[in-house]
């Protein structure tokens, strides 16, 4: 065998209770290469890398690492071999702090005692390398989703890995963090570390990967040099046909204001004096860097965070919204970016997740009308093309992107008038993204008004009527028309323009 090949798989296949989700995967990855994997939601990407890290055992096939066949029975086996993964869903313990998580199962010791100072020092070093400003002793549940992602990356970097697997690490990161991550990946590469990179952001795949494998329905479609394939072609081989225009025509919103926010500040100080308005049928984008306070603003609007002062006026009437139930009563629905932490219940099936906030519409007397629940769910499954073994599948068995679609259906089912969507296409494949954009467009045409918080520049530019840019809890600019472009948004987001 070629000495240069670090990882080789032969005929890898995986079945879950008889259903084949991965079939005959044969790859050879060269040492020091960055190997991309793309494919639609549920194509089997995560399943494949979970096999490489000993989380799942393959139904068929062999794995060769450094020229020798290896058996990966548990994640520990993989770790010992030097295969480390940044998982798609966070694997952090909320009650512990940052450094404890980073060194979990890998604790630094001095004789029998934990060497706390050493672990803190190492953590600070890792975080500084990632240029993130998180204290090593901060508790995980106090962190934002992007910060958690950075901790997850730092945790993987704490190991000396030979093969580093990154499963959609950038879904919640903005360009700045992505550049930092790519910088680190290039450094690792120059040190000879091999990487597998999974993403739905095809431009990133082209930018950072040497080769890319396309999966469709568990089958390996092709492996190409990224120099020889452009994003369009990637998308085409992913979905098996031509991808049409991604963004729908923008619709001009109505004149009347549905939501007016005046001088809103939160008690915890994350939101300072925020004022903006939302027109009926408008798609209002919120841009900014990680930590700009966009999610915190949404949480203040729905009463999760306490408001210090300021007014929230809905259709001309001021309301005091104290909790999500109040918000729902006023027609405000919020789809969180933190899918597993806030959005879905992994041990509930699809219908019970979707109807959780809207259950009162599914009652017959005091009993739940499960037939109605199932019928409605079947509609959503069709509408969003949710891939699941059955209606009664628990969410933990759905792929990340399909979980996202269930979250979307869940918020929609409350029949909102004002729909706040935080990272609407987090972890969603290009084709489904397009469907969601068209769907949001349909929504606003029926008179629903949307606030879209997104770290994806194209999404903000391609979808929104106006764009609010935030920085450090304040609004630095509201852009309209031709001012909605990458440059202007970055200027405002970084504080080069606008009042900071």
């Amino acid at each position: 065998m070629d000495n240069n090949i670090i990882l080789k798989t032969k005929g890898i296949a995986k079945e879950f209770s008889g259903v084949r989700v991965l079939n005959n995967i044969n790859i050879e990855i060269k040492s020091g290469e960055i190997f991309g994997i793309i494919g639609e939601n549920g194509a089997g990407k995560s399943t494949f890398v979970k096999i490489l890290t000993g989380i799942y055992t393959p139904t068929e096939g062999r794995i060769y690492f450094n020229g020798k066949e290896i058996q990966l029975e548990t994640p520990l086996d993989a770790r010992k071999a030097g295969i480390i993964m940044i998982p798609q869903e966070f694997n952090l313990i909320n009650d512990l702090n940052v450094y404890e998580n980073i060194f979990l199962g890998n604790e630094k010791k001095r004789r029998v005692f934990l060497n706390r100072n050493e672990m803190i020092r190492r953590t600070e070093e890792l975080l500084a390398g990632l240029k993130v400003n998180i204290p090593a002793t901060a508790r995980i549940d106090k962190l934002s989703v992007a910060q958690k992602q950075m901790v997850e990356i730092a945790k993987a970097l704490a190991f000396d890995s030979k093969l580093l697997i990154l499963d959609e690490p950038t879904t919640v990161l903005t360009r700045r963090e992505i550049d930092i991550l790519f910088g680190i990946m290039r450094q690792l590469k120059s040190r000879g570390v091999t990487m597998i990179y999974i993403s739905h952001k095809l431009s990133e795949v082209k930018e950072i990967c040497d080769r890319v494998m396309v999966l469709r329905d568990g089958e390996m479609i092709t492996i190409e040099d990224t120099d020889n394939i452009d994003e369009k072609e990637m998308a085409r081989s992913m979905i098996g046909r031509e991808l049409s225009q991604i963004f729908p025509e923008k619709v001009v919103p109505k004149e009347n204001t549905v939501l007016q926010v005046e001088n809103l500040s939160s008690v915890d100080g994350f939101i300072k004096d925020v004022s903006f308005d939302l027109k009926e049928g408008e798609i209002l984008g919120f841009a900014g860097l990680v930590g700009a306070g966009r999610t915190e603003l949404a949480e203040t609007l729905i009463g999760i965070r306490k408001k210090k002062h300021g007014k929230i006026i809905i259709k001309g009437k001021e309301y005091n919204i104290k909790n999500p139930a109040d918000a729902l009563k006023r027609g405000i629905a919020y789809l969180s970016e933190d899918r597993q932490g806030i959005g879905i219940l992994t041990n509930f099936d699809i219908p019970s997740n979707i109807t959780l906030p809207s259950l009162k519409h599914y009652l017959r007397g005091i009993l739940i009308n499960k037939r109605k629940e199932h019928e409605k769910t079947a509609q959503y499954i069709k509408r969003f093309d949710i891939k699941a073994a059955s209606l009664k599948s628990k969410l933990e068995y759905l792929s990340g992107g399909n979980q996202q679609k269930v979250s979307l259906a869940k918020s929609l089912d409350t029949g909102p008038e004002i729909f706040i969507i935080d990272e609407p296409t987090r972890g969603i494949d290009v084709n489904a993204k397009r469907e969601i954009y068209f769907f949001i467009n349909e929504l606003v045409q029926t008179g629903i008004s949307c606030i879209v918080i997104s770290s994806e520049m194209e999404e903000i530019i391609g979808l929104c009527n106006r764009v609010v840019v935030m920085r450090e809890g304040k609004i630095t600019g509201i852009l309209e028309g031709e001012h909605i472009n990458e440059e202007e948004i970055m200027f405002h987001a970084t504080g080069l323009k606008g009042v900071a």
């Binding site: 909790n323 139930a325 969180s336 806030i342 879905i344 219940l345 041990n347 959780l356 005091i366 739940i368």
Partner: protein, 326 residues
């Protein structure tokens, strides 16, 4: 290997407790010829109904991610006061058949209402006071017991009624009344858990409180209600316990009930971490405990060792649970 794949196909999560039930049932019927006699089986069911009823309420509390350690002491306190109220109601209404029935109704109402109130106290301290359920109910476990001792002067509360025992001792269609009530309430609680909003909400809260809160569920209220529910079941159970003996001891009335109720829930497959569970499992869990006790009695095993067996069964049940979740 057809047999191995068959074992794999059996859904342990759903049927684990049922399988254990069948196995123990078969062993018991071989171990003793008396086991299968109708009278013995009815006895087992009657014995398990007291803690079984409480276990029904406990199922909701545990599904919601909580625990209630105070139910045993609560049984003594609630039972004691309901006997006192029975005696004074009899004085108030005077003698006579209907008068005594009236007095008994008063006692039953007092018992259930008091149980609900004691449960509500736990619930308020846990949700409003934001104290861990384990701590709160450990505290009230001591408080309720000490109040029972104080009010009963560390002795026995005795009822003056001749009719009251009919309730706990009586039969309806050949089956003891407490057993009817146990099964009736099981059906009711099953419906609440699986077919009402409340049931869905308590599972959601136990599964992930944050998700529940963002889904516009009034988390504190739903959790509070689960403690009231277990209080109500304590009230019902106290009625049957006191009426069976026509008295209740303030020192050891209801003692160890928390263990049996929690054990029934756990053996029935509800995870201690909450988020899911079944009433059916809890009923089976309660009966399994009863059968084990019965078998040990019939085999002449020292009553002091019965706790050991019970403990092993509980730990075994949790072990199996962990296996299946992997």
């Amino acid at each position: 290997m057809p047999s191995k794949s068959l074992i794999k196909k059996i859904d342990f999560e759903k049927y684990g407790s049922l399988i254990a039930f069948v196995v123990i049932f078969i062993i018991s019927s071989f171990a003793s010829p008396y086991f299968l006699q109708l009278q013995n089986i009815l006895n087992i069911l009657r014995q398990v109904s007291y803690t079984g009823i409480i276990a029904l309420g406990m199922t909701f509390v545990i599904i919601g991610g909580g625990i209630d350690l105070s139910v045993g002491s609560m049984t003594a306190l609630v039972g004691g006061i309901s006997i006192l109220s029975l005696n004074s109601a009899m004085n108030f209404f005077g003698y006579g058949y209907w008068n005594e029935i009236m007095a008994i109704i008063v006692a039953v109402i007092v018992s259930i209402a008091l149980g609900a109130a004691a449960g509500a106290l736990n619930g308020v301290a846990i949700t409003k006071g934001r104290i861990a359920p384990f701590i709160v109910t450990l505290g009230t476990m001591a408080i309720y017991r000490s109040l029972a001792l104080y009010i009963g002067k560390a002795g026995v509360f005795r009822s003056n009624s001749y009719m009251y025992p009919e309730l706990g001792m009586g039969y309806f269609l050949g089956v003891p009344i407490p057993v009817w009530v146990f099964f009736g309430m099981a059906v009711l609680f099953h419906i609440i858990l699986n077919w009402t909003r409340y049931g869905r909400y308590i599972c959601a809260i136990g599964s992930n409180q944050k998700v529940a809160r963002y889904s516009a569920i009034k988390v504190n209220f739903v959790r509070f209600i689960s403690y009231v529910m277990v209080g109500v079941t304590v009230g019902v159970s106290a009625v049957f316990l006191t009426s069976r003996l026509n008295s209740i001891s303030s020192t050891n009335g209801g003692s160890g009930y928390e263990l049996d109720a929690i054990a029934a829930v756990i053996i029935g497959g509800t995870p201690m971490t909450g988020g899911s569970g079944t009433i059916f499992g809890t009923v089976i869990g309660a009966i399994i405990l009863g059968m084990i006790n019965n078998m040990l009695n019939m085999l002449g095993v020292s009553p002091y060792l019965q706790g050991t067996v019970k403990g092993i069964v509980i730990i075994g049940a949790v072990l199996i649970q962990r296996k299946r979740s992997q």
